[in-house]
């Protein structure tokens, strides 16, 4: 088999990868490989997307079945479909820092509320924080 025959056979394959006819035949060697690698990444991303879609469908079915088919007859709290999309792209460090700070603030607020509730329950409105006596 000559080189030209191999090129002819591969031409439609590389055009399916997204290369134009002109690029395939007239560009300097190296570009075809880049297209092939890019295609691999595209396929990988597509597979990941389909897998995620499967998860969404699975969750929707689970929620729907749980909420609509209650064979026991007992009252159950309805389940909710996942509230936000699954995160695919990794968060940047800045985003991670902001999120951690928000979580910390939330924890502080909740501890404060808990402390206030305790104070009201056991001591009226008196401050029960420990005091250092001089």
């Amino acid at each position: 088999m000559t080189y030209s025959e191999i090129f002819e056979i591969n031409c439609p394959i590389y055009m399916a990868y997204g290369m134009t006819y002109e690029e395939y035949w007239f560009s300097a060697p190296g570009r075809a490989k880049a297209y092939r690698e890019a295609y691999k990444l595209k396929v990988k991303a597509k597979e990941a997307e389909m897998w995620r879609q499967g998860l969404y469908i699975l969750d929707a079915l689970n929620v729907s079945i749980y909420n609509n088919l209650n064979f026991s007859g007992k009252h159950r709290t309805p389940q909710k479909y996942i509230e936000k999309p699954l995160e695919v792209v990794a968060k940047s460090k800045a985003e991670q820092r902001i999120e951690a700070e928000q979580e910390r603030q939330k924890a502080v607020e909740s501890l404060k509320a808990w402390g206030n509730a305790l104070r009201r329950k056991y001591n009226g409105d008196r401050d029960i924080r420990p005091r250092i006596e001089n």
């Binding site: 090129f7 035949w25 190296g30 570009r31």
Partner: protein, 119 residues
């Protein structure tokens, strides 16, 4: 050698010191097809070097300098370059193989190979 580790072969640049003309010698798929359509086969370089080397040299111009005539490249090879050195020829062969090599998919090294290669 794995696919990612294989380095691209650099094109050959010919520069005429008197006229400052510059020629880049390289092959793409079209110029390889052009050569093969005219009956050129790489194996013929060994069998008929006197006729096939000048022909091969001419095809190397096709990609970047389509309008350069055969008689001009023959003259360049004969008079300006004084023939083709083995190193030059080897690089041209590597460049000729590049369009094919980029289509070869290396699936990675075989795990636990039964034979080692020493070059």
């Amino acid at each position: 050698m794995s696919e990612s580790a294989r380095e691209k072969v650099k094109p050959i640049v010919l520069r005429n010191t008197e006229t400052n003309d510059e020629y880049v010698l390289e092959f793409n798929k079209d110029s390889v097809r052009f050569a093969e359509d005219r009956g050129f086969r790489l194996v013929d370089l060994d069998n008929f070097p006197a006729t096939k080397i000048p022909e091969f040299f001419f095809y190397a111009f096709r990609m970047h300098h389509k309008n350069v005539q055969r008689n001009k490249t023959d003259k360049m090879l004969e008079e300006d370059l004084g023939g083709m050195s083995p190193k030059f020829l080897q690089r041209l062969v590597e460049l000729y193989n590049e369009p094919l090599n980029e289509l070869v998919v290396d699936e990675g090294e075989v795990k636990n190979p039964k034979m080692e290669i020493e070059l």
